[in-house]
Symmetry: C2
Subunit: 253 residues, 2 copies
């Protein structure tokens, strides 16, 4: 598994260099479901590159990619890769930073490897089940089990504004709310102990890598209802320290 991790890291470092080069030229931007749901030529090119690397190395594995350039995945049985080629595309387009590449590897629904690469900051978080979690070559410590009242919370804008699932009560019970616009960087904040929870409405590629790394460092991830995540469809999502997770369940139940 560690050898496989090294292989994936090399793919993503190579993809990151191409992304940086592409940012020297104008991006080709298209809208998807709304005027703020964007995709660029670079999202597609990056997904194509990662899918081709997986196909070469592991031709029989299933691949679920945000841009739909992998397989149509309807089950988590067997070996499954989940790819977000550019997570935080709106930031990518408007800021040319604050975006990530994310890749996860699951076997029979169990998260084995996760990779979150903040390309422009050259920060690479990776690891997996029983491997530990690393930033570059530095192993990260277990995350202190801080309660909601004592920590910052990442939340999506709609959940906060509309008080969806008591988002406002959760934010008010915390030390403060933060919005970054990139699930990968929200997970990085969790892994660094900068935030005690992240709540949003996420597709599998938004959370797959993050939950593998978060679990290895002692955090809990689930649907906001407490039900397990499906890895197959968009769901209301929470990842938190155990103490904060219990605080949130108390507020939402």
């Amino acid at each position: 598994m560690k050898q496989m991790a090294e292989e994936v890291k090399n793919w993503l470092l190579e993809a990151g260099e191409v992304i940086k080069a592409r940012l020297q030229n104008p991006l080709i931007v298209e809208t998807k479901s709304s005027r703020t749901d964007l995709v660029t030529n670079v999202d597609k090119e990056t997904e194509t590159f990662i899918v081709s690397k997986i196909r070469q190395a592991y031709p029989t594995d299933q691949i679920l990619g945000e841009e739909g350039l992998g397989d149509v995945v309807t089950s988590t049985a067997g070996r499954l890769w989940i790819i977000d080629p550019i997570d935080g595309t709106l930031n990518f387009v408007k800021q040319h930073e604050n975006f990530c590449i994310m890749v996860a590897f699951f076997e029979e629904g169990i998260g084995k490897l996760g990779f979150i690469y903040d390309v422009m900051r050259s920060e690479f978080y990776w690891g997996g089940k029983d491997l530990g979690v690393y930033q570059g070559t530095s192993k990260l410590p277990a995350i202190p089990d801080v309660a909601l009242a004592d920590g910052l919370v990442g939340m999506n804008a709609y959940m906060y504004r509309a008080n969806q699932c008591k988002g406002q009560e959760i934010a008010n019970a915390s030390s403060g709310v933060r919005m970054i616009g990139c699930a990968g960087i929200e997970f990085i904040q969790l892994l660094r102990g900068n935030q005690v929870a992240y709540l949003s409405y996420l597709a599998p590629w938004d959370y797959a890598a993050g939950i593998v790394l978060a679990q290895e460092l002692g955090l809990i991830s689930s649907q906001l209802s407490g039900a397990p995540l499906s890895l197959l469809k968009k769901e209301l999502f929470v990842c938190a320290t155990p103490a904060t997770y219990a605080n949130i369940q108390q507020i939402t139940s």
Copy 2:
């Protein structure tokens, strides 16, 4: 003025080294107006250090500091320094990053110099009237005049949640809302062209350095009502590109 800028930069670099050293030990944290309005021993030590440097170099100048270790300032006449020793204290305490040191220098109410130092990222933004704006030694370009619909907006949580001054309408008319919890980093996002507006309820030390740098790169700052900023008390604040500023005035008027 350029020589004075070099002098201030050296003070802040020295202060930054002390702050990094202090983070190796537990912080002494006290609350101010509420459980999330914090001050630490390091805020006070840093303000004391900067005030002492100004007193030595410019003994007759007025100094307005967040922690009240300068003067009681009731007028912007003459030479005035405005200091935020640690902007984003909640981030400083909870994250040990995503905070800034900010210093500004005004003469007869006119902003002459501004300094924003993101200590943990080693990013130093500085400059002033007719000097240009620099990140380290690189001169920043003028900021493109992007409209609200095409850009991201930084906003404080309360303004968004409570729809204060139509904060929700402003956010909805933009490409998206972001919350960082540090005015200095919000201004850095503006200076880098990552955001087209920043709206909040700010004290003079939260915005003094930022508005000097923002103006030099073509942005407009004022109270949300359109009235000039006082530099003396807390006010509803907006800084934006000219096009976005006009869009926001149209929504709030």
